[in-house]
């Protein structure tokens, strides 16, 4: 198992095994969170692009 963070005090392997892959409630919770996160990230990206929108409407801008 790959321990991503050196600073973690808890045994990561057990936690990884505990991830409830088939639990509908956990999946539903995850989906909702992911939807919110994706929304946030898109809006953040848009905000960063906004000042340049008039110039770069059709060039070199990855909005897809």
């Amino acid at each position: 198992m790959d321990c991503r963070k050196e600073g973690c005090s808890q045994p990561q392997e057990e936690d990884i095994m505990d991830i409830p892959l088939d639990d509908p409630a956990a999946n539903k919770a995850a989906t909702k969170i992911q939807a919110g996160f994706r929304g946030h990230m898109t809006r953040k990206k848009m905000k960063d692009d906004k000042p340049r929108e008039e110039v770069s409407m059709r060039c070199c801008r990855r909005l897809g």
Binding site: T31, A35, L63
Partner: protein, 191 residues
């Protein structure tokens, strides 16, 4: 054993009616749900329409006053919505990968799609997100392990890519690799 993107999301295809049903249901939804967009009543104000038209235009990289299927989710997000990918697929009629890349949508066709999402009852509130993350708070102390959260986000639900997770988690973990999820959610909801 990675989960497939099954229809575990128990959401009936409502037609422009804000039905109050955010509680987790046990009944599995049918695998292929579609939305009847012709029955969605578009109720945006002129100001909103102007904003939406502007955003729509920003996404038109071809210049035909249309956007591709695979841009619809992002336009909706840009306009403040948080649709799941599954919801967008449903709205688009369960398109193939080819459809996603090549089919294009006019603004007028987009509006009922957006309205449908706006009307949908599964809006994520602060409490929803906190509650969702609390599921992974093993010690019940308001924190989740960053590493575990990363794994959850990339293996459950609508899996996020490593790049997405990295971007999301940047700066969120403390020196112990833990995330205070209430603060995290506040940060997410600030945009």
């Amino acid at each position: 054993m990675a989960p497939k993107k099954d229809a575990k999301k128990p959401e009936p295809a409502k037609k422009a009616e804000p039905a109050p049903a955010p509680a987790p249901e046990a009944a599995p939804a049918p695998k292929v749900e579609t939305v009847d967009l012709s029955s969605v009543k578009v109720e945006f104000t002129p100001d909103q329409l102007e904003d939406y038209r502007e955003a729509f235009g920003l996404f038109d990289r071809v210049g035909d006053n249309k956007v591709a299927f695979n841009q619809i989710a992002d336009i909706m997000r840009a306009l403040g919505q948080n649709p799941t990918n599954k919801e967008v697929n449903k709205i688009l009629g369960n398109p193939s990968a080819d459809d996603m890349a090549n089919k294009r949508v006019e603004f007028e066709q987009f509006l009922p799609m957006l309205q449908f999402v706006v009307n949908s009852p599964n809006k994520g509130t602060f409490e929803d997100y906190v509650e969702g993350l609390r599921v992974f708070d093993k010690e019940g102390n308001g924190t989740v392990m960053g590493a575990e959260l990363r794994i959850v986000l990339s293996t459950l639900g609508e899996k996020m890519s490593e790049a997405e997770v990295d971007a999301l988690m940047a700066g969120q973990e403390d020196e112990n690799g833990c995330v205070n999820y209430e603060a995290f959610v506040k940060h997410i909801m600030s945009v």
